[in-house]
């Protein structure tokens, strides 16, 4: 694949680029279909080209090594989010939807809003959800064993989160089929103005209308995450006008991410039967097997930041107001940080991976994701003897999310 050829020259009629001396310019498009099919050679090329690279096609800087991704994630005042975490710079361009007050905000405003969601999705809350989520996972696996052969994306990776998360949110039954298209839209919209982004936004109106409506207090059942966010407005932590926007954050990022996380784990266990055998021998490894799948596949591949000042990183200078793309997936397989990074190892010490991001913006729903992933893999470990891929897999294309469209499998019962 030509995208892996580096470094590219700046010639050939390309628009003028403002890459600083010492920062290699690469002719790589990480938002192209060919890249999505197999990003790993390009990830390696990006890491090897230097600590900071310039992507000439989109005129942005990028970091793909673990150390630099970690550094950017952990300096939110220099590498800000309030100018958007996609390619679009909110200082120059109107956001496609009202700006998020958590994802697209910086400290100190971010800190207050973040504390509200942390409270709503705390470890103590997860303890209360655990039994119900586990029972739903067992029931799902039992039903799939009866069918034997099915699509592990639609019937498992999508069906399971859809059976627990909307209820945990407190959403009404009707209209839930808007949730996955809305999330797909949100994650496509972080990308550049390519066909994926443009067509998603063109089709977005009904999904946006549904989500805006469900964020209102009267549409959220008492006791759910959504109602709990509105309760924080009563307590004075946030304003009544801010509560629906925080509910929107959970509806944006709470479902497609776990779909792709669980999908990644099933795909790993199907491809690496030796690891599935280890999991069956010791189902207590389920949680780490999920975590390792998040490192290995990195369902959320990329996020941008914008520099608020001239900054030196990895010995390279980047000016103020520049977009910097973080390759989370490449950092999660950086051999400088991980031994045998291309191996899926369910006993790996995964602490420190950036599949959930890192620093103050690290995924606020990570505990929900881990709970769903753990109980599903534990149910598989106890009930399923083998996972066999029985047909051609199909990849799903999204500017930010990595996952499959279709994964035909057969389960054999334990």
């Amino acid at each position: 694949m030509s995208a892996a050829n580096i470094p590219a020259s700046h010639g050939g009629g390309a628009p003028a680029v403002n890459s600083s001396p010492g920062i290699p310019g690469l002719d790589v498009d990480p938002f192209a279909i060919e890249f999505f099919e197999d990003p790993f050679p390009t990830h390696e090329a990006l890491r090897e080209a230097g600590p900071v690279v310039h992507l000439d096609k989109w005129n942005v800087y990028a970091v793909a090594r673990y150390a630099e991704v970690y550094a950017v994630l952990n300096d939110p005042l220099t590498f800000c989010s309030s100018r958007g975490v996609g390619l679009s710079d909110f200082a120059k361009e109107k956001p496609w939807r009202p700006q998020s007050i958590i994802l697209e905000a910086d400290p100190p405003a971010h800190t207050r809003n973040r504390a509200v969601l942390s409270k709503v999705l705390s470890p103590a809350v997860m303890k209360q959800l655990r039994d119900g989520f586990a029972a739903a996972a067992e029931a799902k696996v039992d039903a799939l064993l009866v069918r034997g052969s099915f699509d592990a994306v639609a019937d498992l990776a999508e069906a399971y989160p859809m059976s627990v998360f909307p209820d945990a949110m407190g959403l009404k039954q009707e209209g839930r089929d808007h949730l996955l298209p809305y999330a797909g839209l949100v994650f496509n919209a972080f990308g550049p103005p390519n066909e994926l982004r443009q067509s998603a936004i063109e089709r977005s109106a009904p999904h946006q209308a549904y989500v805006a409506e469900q964020c209102q207090r009267e549409n959220l059942a008492p006791g759910g995450f959504g109602a709990c966010i509105h309760d924080r407005a009563d307590a004075g932590d946030i304003t009544a006008a801010e509560a629906p926007l925080l509910v929107r954050s959970l509806l944006s990022a709470g479902i497609d991410t776990t779909v792709n996380g669980i999908g990644a784990a099933i795909y790993c266990l199907a491809r690496f039967p030796e690891e599935f055998s280890r999991l069956r021998r010791d189902p207590s490894l389920a949680r780490n097997a999920f975590e390792e799948a998040v490192r290995f596949e990195s369902p959320v591949q990329t996020f941008f930041r914008t520099t608020t000042r001239e900054v030196e990183i990895g010995g390279c200078r980047i000016g103020e107001g520049e977009k910097v793309l973080m390759f989370l997936g490449a950092a999660n397989r950086d051999p400088r940080r991980w031994s045998d990074p291309d191996r899926y190892d369910i006993t790996r010490k995964t602490s420190g991976h950036v599949g959930f991001g890192g620093g103050v913006h690290m995924c606020v729903g990570q505990l929900v994701a881990r709970l769903e992933g753990e109980v599903m893999l534990a149910a598989l470990a106890r009930k399923v003897a083998g996972i066999e891929i029985t047909g051609p897999i199909k990849r799903r294309y999204n500017n930010t999310l990595r996952g499959l469209e279709s994964l035909p499998v057969t389960f054999t019962p334990a």
Partner: protein
């Protein structure tokens, strides 16, 4: 370098050299200590680096923040008065000899 002693639930002890400025969690995970999971990597978001601080030392640590306090309500093993998250214990030369006990479970 300051030495931290981690004591497992079965009383086996492990002495780990920590660097000043890093967290007790990071010192433990860098040395591959089982019993500190640290799922969130030190961002005070997961409560899986729970430790019980030895009585002699509890008063010598910097006070905990509200965030840590709230997270400790969700630990897998019972919270005790001497419970802390090891990612929030910053190692200084004065903490040389710190003794931390590991809980039965982190998850």
């Amino acid at each position: 370098m300051p030495i931290i002693t981690f004591i497992r639930p079965d009383s086996r002890a492990e002495r780990i050299e920590a660097e000043s400025g890093e967290s007790a969690m990071l010192a433990a995970t860098k040395h591959g200590l089982d019993g500190i999971v640290a799922e969130c990597g030190g961002n005070a978001m997961c409560a899986t680096c729970h430790v019980y601080v030895d009585d002699q030392w509890i008063g010598r640590l910097a006070a905990m923040g509200d965030e840590e306090d709230a997270l400790l309500d969700g630990t897998a093993s019972q919270r005790q008065p001497n419970s802390r998250l090891s990612c929030q214990i910053k190692i200084t030369p004065e903490l040389d000899g710190l003794v931390l006990r590991l809980p039965e479970r982190q998850i």
